[in-house]
Symmetry: C2
Subunit: 463 residues, 2 copies
Amino acid sequence: MTATSSARRLVVVGADAAGMSAASQALRVARARGRELDVVAFESTDHTSYSQCGIPYWIAGDVAGADDLVARTADQHRANGIDLRMAAEVTAIDVERQRVEVRHRDGRREHVGYDDLMIATGAEAIHPAWACDVPDVLPVKTLEDGARWRAVLGVDAGSAPRRAVVVGGGFIGVEAAESLARRGLETLLVTRGSEPMAHSLDPHMGALVRRGLERAGVEVVTGSEVGSIDRHGGRVVAACVSGAEHQADVVALAIGVRPRVALATAAGLDVGAHGGLVPDRTQRLGGDPEGGLWAAGDCCEVWDRVLEQYWYTPLGTHANKAGRVAGTNLGGGSARFAGSVGTAITRAGDAEVARTGVLASWAREHGWDVEEVTLDSTTAAGYMPQAEPMSVSVVGERGSGRLLGAQIVGGRGAGKRIDIVAMALWSGLTAADVAGADLAYCPPFSPTWDPVQIACRKLAEQL
Amino acid sequence: MTATSSARRLVVVGADAAGMSAASQALRVARARGRELDVVAFESTDHTSYSQCGIPYWIAGDVAGADDLVARTADQHRANGIDLRMAAEVTAIDVERQRVEVRHRDGRREHVGYDDLMIATGAEAIHPAWACDVPDVLPVKTLEDGARWRAVLGVDAGSAPRRAVVVGGGFIGVEAAESLARRGLETLLVTRGSEPMAHSLDPHMGALVRRGLERAGVEVVTGSEVGSIDRHGGRVVAACVSGAEHQADVVALAIGVRPRVALATAAGLDVGAHGGLVPDRTQRLGGDPEGGLWAAGDCCEVWDRVLEQYWYTPLGTHANKAGRVAGTNLGGGSARFAGSVGTAITRAGDAEVARTGVLASWAREHGWDVEEVTLDSTTAAGYMPQAEPMSVSVVGERGSGRLLGAQIVGGRGAGKRIDIVAMALWSGLTAADVAGADLAYCPPFSPTWDPVQIACRKLAEQL
């Protein structure tokens, strides 16, 4: 491929959330400014801009088909003016000559020059040694994974899997377990933590998640890990969990993801303490305006506003926003990524689960002197039929009174209340500020004082 | 009643949210500081500390009985050390001699001296001329009102009302209409506005509320008012709505409330532009530390942080918080009421309805140069079965980019999202700040960008 115009050329590596947000926004901003910009995007798979977070719900049967998860098809991106090449893998970046090497699925190779390069290679599921090249041991990450799950679960009743083991108790593991149980499989979730979601929640909140999973029919084994898989006739028959055999027809792999940075590191680019690329807040890499190197999405670390350091938080929300920031700058505008406060939400059976900010244990490691409060309340006024239990745990800094984080587990309407705290962390508010804030109250929606507010009020008294 | 100790005496007038929050908190703070404090509270009715906001849901049958609405009984307050006198009306305040005149239901009168006086007389439903002393024309405000509604609706089938007219399209009117329709009554809501909730929502959002009511079986007549009531044999038989007769067996009166300040004004105390008492942010009245006069709750105006002026916002949330602030100060501590941003929420059939901050029309009256954006999105990712339509309207100030208000109408999970904006207004954030914030996302709970965020992003582009 040779340059066909004098326009500046942006090459995008990876056509999912971050890459295509950047591509679309760059074109939009450039057009608004009357700038010429060629955008070429390379995607190694057959899919663009889809919702990875929707995969567990596709497996569960909530989502009719893969097409529903695709926010924008390749053709839609092309109609928007992006020269999108599918099944085309970027195999090398030559930062000196400002070009990439591309291998097409038909074996053809080419070099493509760039003025700016957007690295949006995402993350990859971590595979333990026993999981490599074992059929019926499937991650829950890509659209291809989802399609394999659908195929495995949809086979004729005689050989359809009846027992599933989910390895990993984080967000994806919990979502996968819930989905498989809803599909009618006997489901066992195995986690190394003392409770599920040990990287995100304190154990006493994780215990509420466990109970939600158990009510949904998921068996949970904590403090354990899968050491090996037994196979018979090429099919999984059992998982060995901390020495004990558990029958299994299919295994979901959800022990985490890591930034996919091999391409970048092979080109000599640096990674941060968590293994991800570390762009600045404009999403530029290496601080070199001449180099034309940019990155966003799950291959990057993200600025954490509470911890005031980079952290690995691979989420579609950040990928979309950071991609858009990169695109604005690439199109000739000016934008900065505002960062994360560590907000996340999911569902574990009938339990809504959400968190933001830091746990008390992290804060203490960080050298903060903190207090925490856990409160049991209800999602609606206690006398209303909608009222379901909800627990809120909040942590704040002594002295300054600053709120540092929160966790919520509860019934319908509990989870999105985490946004109250996310907004408070965003502005660096104190627990007392939140206790005094003017939140929405009406009996079907909340007790007179929102449970988040009562927890913050009690915390403020302790701080 | 004569003084029996050398302790400072706090007299509280009105034993609902504000008064009893103040009384309880004053005792608590005083005890923690080793101070002696006598607290005497007078309540003219037979009820303490109950949820007025729950009355429509009691009428609807969601709440089993009046007891469920009572947060604390008189006996519980007494057990806490408050000398609570029920059925005892304060008929005069003598600010010079620092004493009140009390009339007991048995006709007995007495004078009671105070060091500090907490005025928490609340609000009263506004009655038009045609509604005075007409049976079957009932407000939806007090526990007594609720009991009368329950009695009216619960009579034997032969004479049970079949048709209701609700007068007033504000929050209470909408809640009453929904409740009566759910009880199976043919319900007509009459509002002067071009759409329901004209004091709280723009007409295009009010139209969504109307449709929610209509889906719930409520007929809505806009731009009209009830001019008179026809009676037969002492019972209501029809309401005359802008000249047209509508058959009615019972009429709900919900054209608003006003601060109950007759006692205070008779004592020479001033009211503000909206007719309420205007305590300072410590809840003290008149700025005179010697006078010992305090007030909180629905008899007061409330500091609006967005408008930066006092406003009449009679809500239980403010009453509770301001009462608590007063109590802290009365007990020897130090607290300031942080104010309101105008947040409110309710339900109109299957529509959740919420608002905060100012409408564009108010902002323009205030002299602000504003832009507004209305966005149609969904409560969950569009491909999920939980996804229901939701509309968000946001308004912000040109130049500064500051967010000034929002309205939300939508399906399950839409309404409490208003707290995102309430928190943003609390901190004076810009629309761009909210667009960049780290809110909770997972397909069952939200699109990747929360609808509130998309609306703010579009608004930020216009500002």
